[in-house]
């Protein structure tokens, strides 16, 4: 074949793969799945959106982000607060506040009446939080395990805070019983399908963003920082800035995933955003292949599906599966299942040579 044509096909391969996934999620799935199953798939897609960000930060950037649940929660709670206020109607206040509290609404809820403010907050809140934390950590060259532990501690703290503030955030129960999504009745199956399609569309958009990032100069620098941070510093770049950008983008993606999770799942609670939930998000990324383009998303979809199916058949054994998945995948397939073909090919080459 013409070498230029081969190069063209190879360059377009990721795009073709993303397009195939888009067709699968946006056309095939809605046409074939029952509305219950489609809603479940919608939840997995929200986790997959967060997983794409983890792939960027961890797979390409080498930062093990163990607290993505926090950013997932920032987006999720921002969206849930808006939906709660929408359900309460103008001037109304969310039902749980009269139930647990004295019936007055905390001031920070008020701006979330505005849909536009909420949408901006979903992107800006995690970006600001990640910038402050990332700046403090990366500029002082805190990295590796230190960074991972700090992010996990953040997730623990965040969940504790949510559980303690029952009057402000619903506490352990979280926020639930949303009736409408920006004016569309959430009990109507057509509208539910629309919310699903938005989530699937956002997943494809995030994949396109990381695809562009990975082939850009920034993507090269990020991988270089992961593999040899000191060399990057000696070449005149500041690794802290490079890592900060990846961390912030990952946080925003997690937030978008959380924001779509609230209307699709119909609930967001501390157990969706705590340390265990954050680890669950990582499981998919590790399984699919952390440094691959589609690995994190496909891995998260698989783990999400596995969680539903396994906990339907074996309610308690699911935790064993999740635990063993970590041990087996990280021990034997550190680059994930998605990288298996390449590993096998190189092993084959070595044995024939």
């Amino acid at each position: 074949m013409n070498p230029r044509l081969t190069a063209l096909v190879r360059g377009a391969a990721p795009l073709i793969a993303i397009a195939a996934l888009a067709v699968l999620l946006l056309v095939v799935a809605p046409a074939t799945l029952s509305s219950f199953r489609l809603n479940n798939l919608g939840k997995y897609i929200c986790w997959a959106i967060a997983a794409v960000g983890i792939g960027l930060a961890w797979g390409r950037g080498g930062m093990l982000v163990m607290g993505q649940g926090v950013f997932f929660g920032l987006g999720g709670y921002a969206m849930a607060m808006h939906l709660k206020l929408e359900a309460a109607g103008p001037e109304g206040i969310p039902d749980f506040m009269t139930l647990y509290g004295n019936g007055t609404m905390p001031g920070f809820w008020e701006p979330f009446r505005s849909g536009a403010f909420t949408l901006v907050a979903i992107l800006v809140l995690p970006a600001v939080a990640a910038t402050i934390l990332g700046w403090a950590i990366f500029k002082r060259r805190v990295k590796g395990a230190y960074f991972a532990i700090l992010t996990q501690a953040l997730a623990v703290v965040f969940a504790t805070l949510l559980i303690a503030t029952i009057q402000e955030t619903g506490g352990f129960n979280g926020l639930n019983q949303f009736t409408s999504f920006f004016g569309y009745n959430l009990y109507d199956p057509v509208n539910k399908r629309m919310v699903y399609s938005i989530a699937a569309g956002l997943l494809i958009a995030c994949l396109l963003v990381v695809w562009q990032l990975y082939r850009s100069r920034f993507g090269e620098l990020l991988v270089a920082t992961r593999d040899a941070e000191e060399r990057v510093r000696f070449l005149g770049h500041d690794p802290a800035n490079i890592k900060l950008v990846a961390f912030v983008v990952a946080a925003m993606m997690a937030s978008v995933g959380g924001a779509m999770f609230a209307p699709i799942a119909g609930i967001i609670s501390p157990s969706d955003v705590d340390a265990t939930a954050s680890i669950f998000l990582i499981a998919g990324v590790a399984l699919g292949g952390r440094a691959l383009l589609l690995g994190p998303a496909l891995g998260a979809l698989t783990v999400g599906y596995g969680r539903t199916t396994l906990s339907e058949t074996f309610p308690t054994q699911w935790t064993y599966f999740l635990g063993l998945l970590f041990v087996v995948v990280i021990l034997l397939l550190p680059r994930g299942v998605g990288d298996l073909p390449r590993t096998l090919r190189s092993a084959l080459k070595r044995s024939t040579a």
Binding site: A136, V142, A145, V157, T316, G323, F326, P334
Partner: protein, 294 residues
């Protein structure tokens, strides 16, 4: 006076628990670069060892004394098993050990739930630990003092082991320069294994103290592991001195914050404090100086 002493004394006891938990972590972290997220589950194993011992030897006065060495051995054996079966295969990938051990901790928690039930079990304290002593108007329970005594004994034992025994010398050599230690004839793999045993065993002993204060619980480790890691991070890798100071600082600071605000706000404040502290000393309180860049 009460608002000052109560958090101080209660915080010192919490700090002592954190110290026992963090000693093992800082050893394995400093020596092998292994981040053992299942370390909290070794506390849990220690607590359940105390519970099971009490089922067999019903006399609470005796069973606790029996449980202490038993918990050390049982938790230590679990640690050894973890090292041999999983961690020894991945010494070149320290960050990945973190995730693998997260998986192990999930399995151990579920195992405890399946064996002992999701609800916790009470452990009866011995009669010689019942009651309390009045210190500046605060009734300080003997159990909390016992925790401190236990932590100091563990610390003293470990420090003596490191300083005066040939094996301790081998550990210190391995921590400072693994390759050089190996060329001097130290079998670092054997040293690693024994370190893991000792570190996990200490957590088991800590678990006995925890069980005296709050009984057993399958999720017991989760509550301590993050604070223990913050202690290790703030104290500096593999540094006993730093770990001791950081453990009591975190324990006491959390107690004061909890007294001023609430238990959950105290967690937030302690986390912020550790992040701020890392701004001043990114490598923790004390560090081993090396010529390496990383």
């Amino acid at each position: 006076m009460d608002a000052f002493t109560t958090p101080l004394l209660a915080g010192t006891a919490t700090g002592a628990l954190l110290l026992i938990a963090a000693l093992g972590l800082t050893l394995t972290f400093g020596q092998m670069g292994v981040i053992n997220m299942a370390h909290g589950e070794f506390l849990m194993i220690g607590a359940y060892t105390a519970f099971v011992t009490q089922q067999v030897v019903t006399n609470a006065d005796v069973s606790i004394l029996l449980a202490l060495p038993l918990a050390f051995v049982v938790a230590g054996m679990f640690g050894l098993l973890l090292e041999v079966a999983v961690i020894s295969w991945m010494y070149r990938r320290p960050l990945d050990t973190l995730l693998v051990t997260v998986g192990v901790s999930l399995v151990l928690q579920q195992l405890a739930k399946d064996i002992f039930g999701a609800q916790g079990d009470p452990v009866v304290g011995p009669s010689w630990l019942a009651g309390n002593i009045g210190v500046f108007g605060y009734n300080w329970p003997y159990r909390q003092m016992f925790t401190i005594v236990l932590a100091l004994a563990a610390l003293g034992g470990l420090a003596a082991l490191l300083k005066y025994t040939p094996f301790g010398r081998q550990i210190r050599a391995t921590v400072q320069n693994r390759d050089l230690a190996e060329t001097m004839g130290v079998s670092t793999r054997v040293v690693d294994r024994i370190t893991f045993f000792v570190g996990s065993g200490l957590a088991g002993v800590g678990g006995v103290a925890v069980s005296l204060i709050g009984g057993t619980n399958p999720n017991l480790g989760r509550g301590y592991i993050i604070s223990a890691f913050l202690v290790v991070v703030a104290g500096g890798l593999g540094q006993l001195k730093g770990t001791v100071i950081a453990a009591f600082a975190v324990g006491i600071a959390t107690a004061y914050f909890a007294d001023w605000t609430s238990a959950s706000m105290a967690q937030v404040a302690t986390f912020a404090l550790v992040v701020l502290f890392l701004q001043l000393r990114p490598q923790g309180l004390f560090t081993i100086r090396t010529r390496g860049l990383v």
